[in-house]
């Protein structure tokens, strides 16, 4: 029987694709030279130590090679990327003061609304600078700091100097070095000892300017016995030429502390997302990652937990969804570096319409990490015959006194399951969407509610274009 095929090349990403005029206050010329770095430093009125730091990072960048593994990055030409775009807005503490077109964008993304209903604080970055930052009064009283990174450099130089790019050193890889040279914006969070921040803080990063990059730096310090849930969202409208995101996230989870870091990344499909995230976890502390990766043309993202303290724990829950033209090379890294540490990794991926999902991971259990546990589960779902899925785990276990398990499953949507659901009155599209949503459910239930809803909408939206 002939089936009707509806093949939609490029789906409407509606709200995410709202393009504002590229109307900036200052845009640095394209390319990456010492002069350009100095110009960025001038524009940002960096202290001397930061200017020197940037220039040193540039040197490291020039020495390092592109990664020799993973997706092909040859289309990235730094001479075509403007690394600093200052929006026509200062940093505001009231949405009323944010220029209208920028505010409208965040309105449509639902940020001010979420701030009212479910968040304790919000930061919003537009291109290279943060345009809005605010936090509830009672957290300020308890000594919590939540501000943009530039303010932190100015007002908390000692804290910043002690932690900035110490967890993720510039020589880690080429794009971290790049980040060190051109970073701008991002959020700084400091939660004092024993302070529990019960309601999440959220930073949202929006890149509007074409042929540019976003290099925000997020630095979070959760002191002993304190706890925090931090949410990060990102998106951009689609342009024909490549955009670059090379952010950096450094998380310090001190003894007995707890940090949950949730991300929903929905970059446009001309974005190269080469982001670096790392956490250092102290004694009996716990670091949880929740990650949804939907956008980008190429993504290389491997958050990392370093379990340095005895009894420290980490859990990673992540999902990637790759459609036409997308190559999402995502995963997780964990280093067990002390006794009685434990890690749980639960990764899922969905690929359709020729998209590629790769799960790439590193689990290292050092000799000193006796009596540690690690369990890895990764599952992939391919929605058609032209999509790809791969699993590349590296497990480096240097002691026998561990419990380690690894489970990997790669599969397709079952025709029998589709028939079963259709026999209950669901159309083929509804049936597939239900199966995919069900597959993603263990991850989506970990996301903040509005993001879980957004993820389900994205799945529906993406599938409308995928049903053949």
């Amino acid at each position: 029987m002939e089936k009707n095929k509806t093949q939609v090349e490029e789906i409407n990403r509606n709200i995410y694709d709202i393009k504002n005029k590229d109307d900036y206050d200052f845009k640095i010329k394209k390319g990456l030279t010492k002069e350009i770095i100095n110009e960025i430093s001038d524009q940002k009125k960096d202290p001397d130590w930061m200017r020197e730091f940037r220039l040193k990072a540039l040197e490291v960048y020039n020495k390092l090679e592109l990664p020799t593994w993973g997706p092909d990055l040859s289309e990235l030409n730094m001479n075509e990327i403007a690394t600093y775009v200052r929006p026509k807005s200062k940093l505001n503490t009231s949405w009323e003061d944010v220029p209208e077109d920028i505010k409208n964008t965040f309105d449509k993304l639902g940020i001010p609304e979420a701030e009212k209903t479910s968040l304790a604080g919000v930061g919003a970055q537009y291109d290279s600078e943060v345009v809005y930052h605010s936090m509830k009064e009672d957290l300020i009283k308890q000594g919590v700091i939540y501000t943009d990174m530039e303010t932190a450099v100015r007002e908390y130089p000692e804290l910043v100097k002690e932690h900035f790019m110490k967890c993720v050193p510039v020589y880690d890889h080429k794009f971290v070095a790049l980040h060190g040279a051109v970073w701008s914006g991002g959020s700084f969070v400091y939660v004092p000892k024993n302070v529990k921040v019960d309601i999440p803080l959220q930073s949202y990063f929006r890149l509007n300017s074409p042929e540019s990059g976003q290099f925000e730096h997020t630095l979070i310090i959760v002191e002993e016995g304190a706890s925090l849930h931090f949410i990060e969202g990102c998106s951009a409208p689609k342009y024909n030429k490549v955009n670059l995101h090379a952010g950096c996230v450094e998380l310090y989870v001190k003894d007995n502390a707890y940090l949950r870091y949730s991300t929903i990344e929905n970059w446009s499909k001309n974005m190269l997302n080469l982001n670096t995230k790392k956490a250092i976890v102290g004694k009996n502390a716990k670091m949880d990652w929740v990650s949804g990766s939907f956008g980008s043309k190429i993504s290389m993202l491997y958050p990392m937990s370093i379990l340095n303290g005895e009894g420290s724990k980490t859990e990673f829950t992540g999902i990637s969804f790759a459609g036409k033209g997308q190559n999402l090379d995502n995963g997780f890294k964990v280093i067990h570096n002390a006794k009685n540490t434990s890690s749980v990794i639960n990764a899922k991926s969905i690929s359709k319409n020729g998209g590629t999902c790769t799960y790439r991971s590193l689990v290292r259990i050092n000799e000193n990490a006796k009596n540690s546990k690690c369990s890895v589960s990764c599952e992939s779902l391919m929605l058609d015959d032209i999509s790809k899925s791969d699993t590349i785990p590296v497990n480096d276990i240097r002691t026998d006194e561990v419990e380690f398990s690894h489970e990997a499953k790669i599969g397709k949507i079952s025709d029998k399951a589709i028939f079963y659901l259709m026999s209950r009155g669901l159309s083929e599209e509804d049936a597939k969407a239900m199966i995919v949503r069900g597959f993603a459910y263990p991850i989506s239930k970990e996301l903040p509610l509005e993001y879980a809803v957004e993820m389900n909408n994205l799945i529906n939206l993406e599938l409308e274009g995928a049903i053949g």
């Binding site: 029987m1 079952s414 025709d415 029998k416 399951a417 028939f419 079963y420 659901l421 259709m422 026999s423 209950r424 009155g425 669901l426 159309s427 083929e428 509804d430 049936a431 239900m434 199966i435 949503r437 069900g438 597959f439 993603a440 459910y441 263990p442």
Partner: protein, 247 residues
């Protein structure tokens, strides 16, 4: 309005290269319970799947009419929305959606109307008590980790909730103990009224001990070779299918 619900005319069906049904004729009126019996491999499950137009099977000849409308080539979901339901021999496991949410969703698709939550939950509760189902299962993923018996009861629950005009029960009794078979029979009795019909597909006669049926059809090698009343089932129970084979 005709009393006729389903009519199958000279239906031939193949799966891959293999011809399974060769010329089935069957008429089911409102208010009737029919049974198709037959040895393994005779085409019983194929008949059920063909009515729902499972794309794994190809119809090479014949027609299927439902309330005088040709449904031969309709999509499975369209047939379901016309009022045909099938209880599966091996119900699929669907992770990540609870039984309650699934049924709510399916009922909305079948009726085309919003489901009234309170009444719906009351209805579910009532049916589950009758079917002796564990209420905890309702919040579990659809069929995931259910025992064979739980899956079959869950199919009957779906039948009751979706309330079709024609319910096809494919080997719903197989693999069940005596008590579970009685519960399933009770579910069928609760469902049955003068405006709907049931087609039971089975290879044994156990379920017929606790259920009164109107017609029994014997299916052998893809053809209905004999039709009778409930007594025919008793004869088969005693004598087997031997005398209908290889004719």
């Amino acid at each position: 309005m005709s009393e006729k619900l389903l009519e199958i005319k000279d239906l031939c069906v193949s799966a891959g290269e293999k011809e399974i049904l060769n010329g089935i004729n069957l008429k089911i009126n409102k208010g009737e319970i029919h049974v198709i019996m037959g040895p393994n491999g005779s085409g019983k499950t194929t008949t059920a799947n063909a009515i729902l137009n499972n794309p794994e099977y190809t119809k090479t000849n014949g027609k299927i009419l439902f309330e005088d409308e040709d449904i031969t080539d309709l999509k499975t979901d369209e047939i379901a929305r016309k009022g045909v339901f099938m209880s599966f021999q091996l119900p699929e496991e669907i992770p990540g959606i609870s039984v309650t949410n699934f049924l709510k969703y399916a009922k909305n698709k079948i009726t085309g109307e919003p489901v009234k939550i309170f009444a719906f939950k009351e209805e579910l509760k009532k049916y589950m008590e009758e079917l002796k189902m564990n209420p905890k299962n309702m919040e579990r993923s659809l069929n995931v980790g259910f025992s064979g018996g739980e899956k079959k009861k869950n199919e009957i629950l779906q039948m009751l909730v979706l309330n079709p005009k024609l319910a096809i029960l494919d080997e719903t009794d197989s693999g069940l103990d005596v008590d579970a078979i009685k519960t399933v029979s009770k579910g069928i009795e609760m469902f049955k009224n003068k405006d709907n019909a049931v087609l039971i597909i089975t290879h044994n006669t156990k379920i017929l001990h606790s259920l009164k049926v109107d017609y029994v059809h014997i299916l052998v090698d893809g053809k209905i070779v004999k039709t009778g009343n409930q007594d025919l089932a008793t004869i088969i129970e005693n004598e087997g299918y031997g005398k209908y084979k290889n004719k």
